[in-house]
């Protein structure tokens, strides 16, 4: 692989030093004086780097300890049961796991082409004057609080889905014959949650993709053009393959956000503990179960069950992330 930023390489720096004019002596002295500071910085950054995994470990331990009573009581049934009955103290999270995975993957499916498309446009096609404002606006999406997304979804997105999109998919396109688009269109649904998630993760995927695409060396592009490629062929054969693992990294970032998103999803998913094939049906996610019930949970077992839901979300996120990392690693190797 070509070093994408050759001027930061050690060889580059050495060349720079070699060709530079002799510097005043004063500077050298100051550089030596920096040794203590250097060591201090090294200690500080090491501490910072160690703090993050440590924090993760502490969270994992606390969540696991809190979840233990419920996990012991229900065992594997906690993962497969659809019961969530605080009155009888019986808990299971199968619908929540299902809803979490379905909404997150559907959101990725919708957001990835849009985000990558926008990134390709902004790095390859866009006129110079549009590039920065458009990128800024996309990034701004990430700055909107999730409650605002939720409110917007309740008052704008959900009515549109109920009045227009759902009837259109089900009746006009005849997709109602499949189990995925059947049933009454109430509005709040797995589909609504997936769409709002797609909007929310779009800026993350797009921002990372843009950076990666911009980092593709000029020589790579010029070589493709020199071989007679059109602009689209150049993008497809030289730019995107080069940036593929980076783009996938952005997708993973988006996926992580989608799996854990709570407020906006809770507001539009319909909060029903049921596994339904139809995307029009209401559903539940692990994060919304915790958000909905934690403040009013009184029984020890209910609290523990909510911790266990958190534990399951933790594990699901780990598994999905590990899978995605493996995918990146594999495509990285294939690209070579």
């Amino acid at each position: 692989m070509v070093d994408p930023l050759p001027h930061t390489g050690l060889a580059g720096r050495a060349a720079e030093v070699a060709t530079a004019r002799p510097r005043p002596r004063r500077r050298v002295v100051r550089l030596q004086g920096h040794r203590a500071a250097d060591r201090a910085y090294s200690v500080l950054t090491t501490a910072a780097a160690a703090a993050v995994p440590l924090l993760l470990l502490v969270i994992a331990v606390v969540v696991t300890m809190g979840a233990w009573p419920a996990l012991r009581q229900f065992g594997l049934g906690f993962l497969t049961s659809s019961d969530w009955d605080p009155v009888r103290n019986v808990y299971g999270v199968a619908p929540a796991i299902y809803g979490t995975l379905v909404t997150s993957f559907l959101a990725l499916l919708i957001a990835t082409p849009l985000a990558v498309g926008a990134a390709v446009f902004l790095t390859e096609y866009s006129p110079e004057w549009l590039r920065r404002p458009a990128a800024f606006l996309i990034d701004l999406l990430a700055a909107i609080p999730s409650v605002i997304f939720g409110l917007w979804a309740i008052f704008v997105l959900v009515p549109i889905l109920r009045e227009h999109v759902m009837p259109f998919l089900r009746d006009t396109l005849g997709l109602g014959a499949t189990p995925f688009f059947s049933g009454p269109a109430y509005g709040p649904s797995l589909l609504a949650a997936s769409l709002i998630l797609a909007v929310m993760i779009l800026p993350y995927i797009s921002a990372v993709s843009r950076e990666v695409l911009a980092a593709v060396p000029r020589s790579q592009r010029e070589a493709a053009l020199a071989l007679g490629a059109t602009q689209w062929e150049m993008i497809r054969s030289a730019v995107i393959p080069f940036a593929r693992s980076g783009i996938l990294g952005g997708v993973i970032l988006g996926l992580g956000r989608a799996l854990g998103e709570t407020m906006a999803v809770t507001m539009v998913i319909g909060n029903r503990q049921e596994i339904s094939a139809s995307l029009f049906a209401p559903g539940y996610t692990l994060a919304s179960a915790i958000a909905n019930q934690f403040s009013e949970a009184t029984g020890d077992l209910q609290l523990s069950a909510l911790m266990a839901a958190g534990f399951v979300l933790f594990v699901v996120t780990l598994i999905v992330n590990a899978g995605a990392r493996w995918l990146v690693w594999r495509t990285g190797r294939l690209a070579r």
């Binding site: 700055a143 019930q293 009184t298």
Partner: protein
């Protein structure tokens, strides 16, 4: 360069999301102290619990501080959290929309917890049925059947028989309930369990139950929003919310057989009806749903202040008792302005008597 910008933006978004939960901390003036100061930073008393009475409590604490100088810091973290914090003795008093269960009482570390009803709330049944008037008539049986999924159409004979002259469409009823645990759900399911043996058997009553049918909306606003947007929807919200947003509300048949629309007077009447037959030894962990009396609104309930009978700090205990006494007298005059129902006179009298049984260390009486 751009990357730092993205990270900054992402950080901002995260920070903003963090502040996005529970907007219930309406600090009416006295909240000059941040709510988060669990230690009470400068407050004389610290309490925590139910979100439903938070607006009136904040108003009380502000007025009380103005007239007596006693500062009370209240954190509206939810009834469950209130009960937990009282049990752990991390606050001076708690507040809850549902009475503590015997098991919860036995787990409280500071001994016997006394319940003092502070104000009365009611739950309104609201709906969206084009062409139907405000005040559609419903009974507890019909409501239970609707929420169990046994009655699914608006023109069901059960509903039609109660509403002669109203043209009911052959439309599906979309049931909307709260998705988050809440005192509102507790009151509503307490009522359904009281009028319907089938409901009592399953799903039963609680701050959250396993709903047989319907969609879950988060908060009163989530339920009301869903109902407003969906023709054919029916659900329940807190009375104050229904009044402030002028939602159409059903007239529910009370124990005396009269159809009553939810009102503050109806909720107070429910408490008065129950108070008449209360034994003097009551601990006030009582339900006032489906209460006797011609004018009572049947889906009403107290919200409680939770106080240890054996106070450990004489000065704090004195202040707490004084405040509750004030809330039962002067405080009741302010509640209607915020859409809560005041306690009836006979109830106030009984509570004052019971307040005298709070024991302060070193006190002779």
């Amino acid at each position: 360069m751009t990357r730092t910008w993205i990270i900054a933006v992402a950080g901002l978004a995260l920070a903003a999301c963090g502040g996005g939960d529970k907007g219930g901390n309406a600090n009416t003036g006295s909240g000059a102290q941040p709510q988060a100061s669990a230690g009470g930073g400068g407050a004389d008393l610290v309490g925590a619990g139910a979100t439903f009475p938070n607006p009136i409590y904040q108003r009380w604490f502000y007025d009380y501080a103005q007239s007596t100088g006693v500062k009370i810091n209240y954190q509206s973290i939810g009834s469950g959290g209130g009960i937990r914090q009282v049990s752990e003795q991390t606050v001076d008093f708690g507040a809850s929309d549902s009475p503590m269960s015997d098991q919860e009482m036995s787990q409280a570390k500071g001994g016997a917890v006394m319940h003092f009803p502070s104000v009365i709330g009611a739950v309104a049944v609201t709906y969206n049925l084009p062409g139907a008037p405000d005040g559609l008539k419903l009974t507890g049986d019909v409501l239970a059947a609707i929420f169990q999924g046994k009655v699914t159409k608006w023109n069901d004979p059960g509903i039609a028989a109660l509403n002669p002259g109203v043209k009911l469409p052959a439309q599906d009823i979309l049931v909307v309930h709260r998705s988050d645990g809440s005192g509102t759900t507790y009151i509503f399911t307490d009522y359904l369990a009281a009028v319907s043996p089938a409901w009592k058997a399953s799903p039963g009553k609680g701050k959250d139950v396993q709903w047989p049918v319907g969609l879950g909306g988060k908060g009163n606003e989530g339920v009301a929003g869903q109902i407003k947007q969906t023709p054919g929807a029916l659900g329940y919200v807190e009375l104050a919310y229904a009044r402030q947003n002028k939602l159409p509300v059903a007239a529910v048949r009370n124990a005396a057989g009269k159809f009553v629309q939810p009102s503050l007077q109806g909720a107070t009447a429910a408490a008065a009806g129950v108070a008449q037959s209360l034994p003097p030894t009551t601990d006030f962990r009582i339900s006032i749903v489906n209460a006797p009396g011609a004018d009572t609104y049947p889906i009403s309930s107290f919200t409680w202040l939770l106080v240890y009978q054996n106070q450990t700090d004489a000065a704090k205990g004195r202040k707490l008792v004084d405040f509750i006494g004030w809330a039962l007298h002067d405080g009741q005059k302010e509640v209607q302005a915020l859409d809560y129902a005041p306690l009836p006179a006979n109830m106030v009298q009984m509570e004052i008597e019971r307040l005298k049984t709070v024991k302060l260390p070193g006190a002779t009486t």
